[in-house]
Symmetry: C2
Subunit: 252 residues, 2 copies
DNA sequence: CGCAAGTTTGATTCTAATCAACGCTGGTGG
DNA sequence: CCACCAGCGTTGATTAGAATCAAACTTGCG
């Protein structure tokens, strides 16, 4: 793991190119661009235009894309894979702000640097745009502005749900809610609702739900003993009793 | 109080007009519109145009503007006063999503209804626009779209900070962070950083910070005993030791 | 195979919640 | 005018849920 008190990552030491070395001209015009959520309803011409400003990178797992405080320069879109966004406190306490998957956008921020760190969970394909190019693109295709706004509002709504979870739910309720969210996200990506893929570690889940590793582990075990879920292999979770899980999640 | 399990408010039973009865033509062209944050840099003509679509209402304290689940029809801007936004669980557990003040906007949401309840804390002056009129306004003044987007991103950043607070901070750290935020907000409104006004009840603070009333009360008392703050009168808090408060807030 | 990292399980501690009582304040009505 | 009451806030005693501390187990990899 080592994300908690690791020295700044030396990108070059990793077995992949430094993401900053990728330039648009070097990027092949692959069709992954179609998967970018905010251009889902663009015309072929517009997609082509988009392709000229984006560049694409394949990153390994546990790769830090940018850190909290880094100068904001790019916006990223996930073509495939999974990314976590997190904030750290000076003493190492960590809060994961979100788990992102295929189609999700990140890297928005206000002046003064990114306000979270972004790190891949699994090997991940990213598309990247500079804010400058994105702006000129928006000038060409004004619809994009509305689309970005809608996405920000959606993120805001999710964040508010997460506040309720963190502030008022018990460990059991938190885990149940988490599983249901991942399941819904699976459906959204065209996968079956169960088994739910859990690409992230227990530590990640704990830092997302405001719990400790041990409590997350115990809660999974407990839900399994209650017959509500099954844990066939690490990284996967079968839901046996949707009704019970839903009721639990809402505190019923 | 009674916000937890009150029957749906009968607006007419209150001593103020039902907010839904207010129509644009009836609204005087008061200059309060200038205080709407998202039109701060508009030209006089544009402000005049804005005035034709907004309408204005003075509401008493503890007035429910809309409820979670209500059909989304309007966007609101606070001219003066304070509003809280909250979510409820079926069993009455409550999470306050945010405290809003003069200049703040609320009522954004996605299809399917508002995702929180909005209630005044103090007597409050609100401006209101239908989403429809706001859309036509945005068509006229495209700058507004960017402005709304920026505001949504700011809210998102705040929400992410709140996740860190709820998930990883101790009671002391939560209260310290809360006081610093209110103080910063005071400055932003042109008021001195201290004394910090606390128009909301202990119950509201508790439901905002993911604590109980008793813990909030005890923590205030403790910070007072430590000489970090003073509590001269209910509703106000003096900060004696900014450095200590800041250090506490960050977990130093 | 052996090691390191991640996960599970168990024992104990601790923070904040719960339960309970009391005091303050502001509004109401006798 | 003052007594009463309701709502809010504070304080104290006890409990509970999750954290911490500790150890064993599992998994994946060189």
């Amino acid at each position: 793991m080592g994300s908690l008190n690791m020295p700044p990552l030396d990108f070059d030491a990793q077995k992949t190119p430094h993401i900053a070395d990728l330039r648009s001209p070097q990027c092949r015009n692959c069709d992954i661009v179609r998967e970018i959520a905010f251009c889902a309803d663009l015309s072929p011409d517009e997609v082509k235009r988009l392709a000229t400003v984006r560049c694409h990178a394949a990153l390994p797992a546990s790769f830090t894309v940018f850190r909290e405080g880094d100068e904001v320069d790019h916006v990223y879109s996930i073509s495939a894979g999974a990314v976590k966004l997190y904030k750290l406190m000076p003493d190492g306490r960590r809060q994961i702000i979100g788990f992102l998957f295929s189609g999700d956008l990140f890297g928005l921020g206000i002046d003064g640097g990114y306000c979270y760190t972004a790190e891949t969970i699994t090997p991940t394909h990213l598309c990247r745009f500079t804010h400058r190019k994105l702006d000129s693109l928006i000038a060409e295709i004004p619809r994009l502005e509305r689309r970005m706004f809608t996405m920000a509002v959606k993120d805001l709504v999710s964040a508010q749900d997460q506040m309720l979870l963190l502030g008022r739910k018990t460990a059991r309720e938190k885990v149940a809610t988490f599983l249901l969210r991942l399941s819904r996200r699976s459906i959204q990506m065209g996968l079956p609702p169960s088994p739910v893929a859990l690409p992230m570690s227990r530590a990640d889940i704990a830092d997302y739900l405001g719990l400790t590793i041990e409590t997350v582990s115990r809660t999974f075990t407990q839900l399994k003993r209650d017959g509500i879920i099954g844990l066939p292999a690490s990284g996967h979770c079968i839901v046996n009793d949707w009704e019970a899980l839903r009721e639990l999640a809402e505190g019923g």
